[in-house]
Symmetry: C2
Subunit: 558 residues, 2 copies
């Protein structure tokens, strides 16, 4: 059409840098960050990020470069989420629990020009970088070793040895200029960050996010969790996990308060909630266990309801109940690194929460939450499809298919692995690999993670369904169900059970409970093993390890 124009006045690349610029203007005097005795306002945070971006430019960071950071949820890591893209570069926040071997692999993949490291982790990172075997691996594109910048922490009692030749974070901020012109992306689809999937199987993948994706996902999150009114956000989710599920940027969009913490414990949660009037926190379900199991003396009354957004393995009913009784409102998300964190509200399975709907029918939270909305507003579509025909499964709550997503809030791809990217996005949809069904009301229910489901002839059994029931057994603390090969049936369920402290049980008791509670006989495990469950660094049960054990058992006892 004639007369229309696309120009800098009406087309600005979507980037969360805009959120910070606006926050400095609109919420300038409001508190942005609280960390111990440190407090910043949004104007200060903006100024510090500009200075840091300016300093990065002086340290030869330019477009296309990667800056890595390895630190707990301290203010510096928050600032890097803005400063690095303001210098035109891409941030990779690394898991603080990586060991020497894993860190070496990841740094080799990233080849960062600069690594910002928390003082407690400097020794580890130095060791990796100065290991002679790694020298060649770690040279970045400019044939230099990455520059180390230490993030010192005044709150730490035991100070680590200081290598005076190592650059320091605050000194670096101080060398920058606050009138720096933020660069931002030339194209909104340029990458802003790289996050590593902890994936239950195989080697970690480098998942890149675009400026456009994280901008839109931040808005989608705010709307999804109804965070409109000056939220106070307690940083219990790691910023290295999907950039703190994009809450790093979303908090700037809202001008909310970031309560930064080094470690997560029930005491810290209760103390922070009471002191700073926290409204939201999120993370792994283990947070709920922490809260539920905390000694009553630590459980301070909440000033008002606190929304807790959880994603990962499903918590047990007693834990859910206890945490709700303490005044927390739990919302359950389903997502993955490739979808920038939780992208769907995951339906409740708990049978403990019944409500009456408008029609007077008794509905459990499952359906109630479904009606509240499923996929986030900025994700264009979520479906369950036959991965071969790409047809949607019927909405019968039974036919199993693959959960697939499509939309602007998905990753830009796997860095350095075009083949894996192509495969993940084949035929117009992101393949989660997860198994699910579609209910009659249209809602999606995730049944099992990729590769975990048990295949019994034509029937597919969800290990999560069995775990949900078994975890409600009064003596059971944790449970994992995996597929065990079976000559007759193909695969059968095998249960690994960790009992609560001081509790005693045996296979007969567990199996009897299963037979009573489970819908189908085929869901009852054929074997029960007791003991600790193997976890990976993100707190996920390593089902691949258990599958090996289950099948080793089979060989031992034929």
């Amino acid at each position: 059409m004639e007369g229309l124009l696309q120009c800098p006045a009406n087309y600005v690349p979507l980037t969360p840098i805009s959120f910070l610029e606006r926050a400095a203007f609109v919420y300038g005097n409001k508190v942005s960050i609280i960390y111990g005795n440190t407090r910043y306002t949004w104007r200060q945070t903006h100024e510090r990020c500009l200075k840091l971006a300016s300093a990065l430019t002086r340290l030869n960071i330019s477009r296309g470069d990667i800056v890595a950071a390895m630190a707990p949820n301290v203010p510096a890591l928050y600032e890097l989420h803005f400063a690095v893209p303001m210098a035109g570069a891409t941030l990779s926040a690394l898991n603080v629990s990586l060991d020497e071997h894993a860190l070496t692999i990841i740094l080799h993949q990233l080849r960062p020009k600069i690594i910002f490291v928390d003082s407690e982790l400097v020794q580890l990172v130095s060791k990796v970088i100065h290991n002679k075997n790694n020298t060649h691996l770690l040279e970045n594109h400019h044939d230099h070793q990455p520059l180390l910048v230490t993030i010192r922490d005044v709150s730490l009692d035991r100070q680590t040895q200081w290598d005076l030749e190592v650059r320091e974070y605050e000194q670096t901020v101080a060398m920058g200029e606050s009138d720096f012109q933020a660069m931002g992306p030339t194209n909104e689809c340029d990458p802003i960050s790289v996050n590593f999937t902890s994936g239950s199987t195989g080697t970690p993948k480098a998942v890149a996010y675009s400026h456009r994706a994280v901008y839109l996902n931040s808005l989608g999150l705010i709307l999804r969790y109804n965070m409109g009114k000056s939220p106070v956000f307690l940083w219990t989710v790691d910023m290295f996990r999907c950039n703190g599920w994009c809450f790093t940027w979303a908090m700037a969009a809202l001008g909310g308060v970031n309560v930064c913490i080094r470690n997560v414990s029930a005491k810290i949660i209760f103390d922070s909630v009471q002191l700073h009037k926290v409204t939201h926190l999120c993370g792994k379900p283990t947070i709920l266990n922490m809260i539920a199991d905390s000694p009553p003396v630590e459980q301070k009354p909440l000033p008002s309801v606190v929304d807790v957004i959880i994603a990962g393995a499903f918590p047990t009913n007693p834990v859910l109940k206890r945490v709700q009784e303490l005044g927390f409102n739990i919302v359950y998300g389903y997502g993955m690194t490739e979808a920038l964190g939780p992208a769907l509200i995951r339906p409740w399975r708990s049978s403990q929460h019944h409500h009456h709907d408008d029609d007077g029918n008794d509905r459990d939270d499952h359906n109630l939450k479904c009606r509240e909305g499923l996929h986030n507003i900025t994700l264009e579509a979520a479906d369950v499809k036959d991965p071969t025909t790409m047809q949607s499964v019927p909405s019968d709550g039974e036919t199993i298919g693959e959960v697939m997503l499509r939309g602007n809030t998905l990753m830009a791809g796997y860095l350095g692995d075009a083949e894996a990217t192509q495969k993940a996005f084949s035929r117009g949809w992101f393949r989660t690999g997860d198994v699910g069904v579609r209910h009659t009301d249209g809602c999606i229910e995730m049944k099992d993670r990729a590769g975990d489901a048990i295949v019994l002839g034509k029937e597919v059994i969800s290990t999560l369904d069995i775990e949900a029931i078994l975890s409600s057994h009064p003596k059971v603390k944790e449970v994992a169900i995996v597929a065990q090969n079976d000559v007759v049936a193909g695969q059968v369920p095998c249960a690994f059970v960790k009992l609560k402290e001081g509790k005693c049980s045996n296979a007969e008791e567990i199996l009897e409970f299963c037979a009573e509670q489970l819908q189908k006989a085929a869901m009852v495990p054929k074997t029960v093993r007791f003991g600790d469950l193997p976890m990976n660094s993100t707190g996920k049960v390593q089902k691949s390890v258990l599958r090996e054990r289950a099948n080793a058992i089979e060989k031992q006892c034929p």
Copy 2:
């Protein structure tokens, strides 16, 4: 960076059509539209829009075509906001109060292929189309007269004469197929709609919006007005005004309830609020006058607080006070058609609402609202600049400059007028033409609409400032201040005053009040004239007419 991919799985053009598709899936059984006895669910609305889009395609609508509509806020006009872009075309919703002359000019500009017309307006539109003088003007690009489709209304008592040869809306919907594949934009910057500015001066301009802009603005609106929890929206703002300020699309994003109405009155507002538990309504400040002046018998108690979003001329303090007492929460927006409606929260001037801030200082709502945020989250920047140097004015609350905006939620341009578009967007900013200042806390205050300010040597006086004070006079119902030429001072203020019914006053009394209340002597009008104020079709005082009168007076009485 290598390995990344932009493909249909992770890049979807931003369009509000996604909102409707998601609403059908996520809020399928929730009510979408209430109109008299008519109710639809989101699944039904989606299906009806698909059928209508399919029918439009059968009627030869294709990409780049314009479909016009002239109707009050009935469900059909709501549906057209989705169905027309779903057929790949652009919607132009026309002002229902256009006269034959204005409609002829606008249709000539648009050349729509189809015009949807409310049954009450069919005669007018037919007359324009069948006027032999217009035949040539109205031929569209395919050398056909536009097709008329009548929107019949079962709620109307007096049925207009039916021309059996004229196509009818419901028949048109019925001829479409619900399995139609929605088209959407090929590029998210393609136009979705054209809205005409009623502009206080000159001829109306055809303002085009892009899919991207309205998608983002819808999310920005929801966040700005904190509409997260299943809102019930009463349609008191015309859908032909910036597409109902983009609330047409925003309501689909939220899965809220649209309460459609043909006319706006205090009785209809109170009845609807009580019956449907309305949570939000918006529009011109005259809505507030309507509510404040309604007979007590009509003023039903509100089930809960109703948010009223207002933009336009500033309401008087007594009206504000009365409406707030009745339970409405008033939010004041500042914007224009080119910014897709209200883009900034406009500060309060009222001195009646005082609050204590965190520092214990007494602040009026003005400052309080500023701190709540100024420009919407999806608008990248708002500033006050010297239009020649393009430098920001100092934040001193005094230095006057031009209010300028920049961001993705601005128009795509003026349809068919590349020159006007270039001018409006020159040097990277949208020029509002409005005069404003920047306060010490960074907040922008609009001082006067383009061309209305009074220039006294180097000083610029805001007519809005004088009007705000004068409208608080107990005998004054409406007031308008315009510039009157003066040999000595250059320009001086001239007041046009409409008194309340049954009240008597004279120039001396008014001027004495002004001298007491106004900050500067130069703000006191030199002349006062009593009587009705001339209004344009959108309820704005026609200051250009008053300026002519003021200067004619001068000539008569030298």
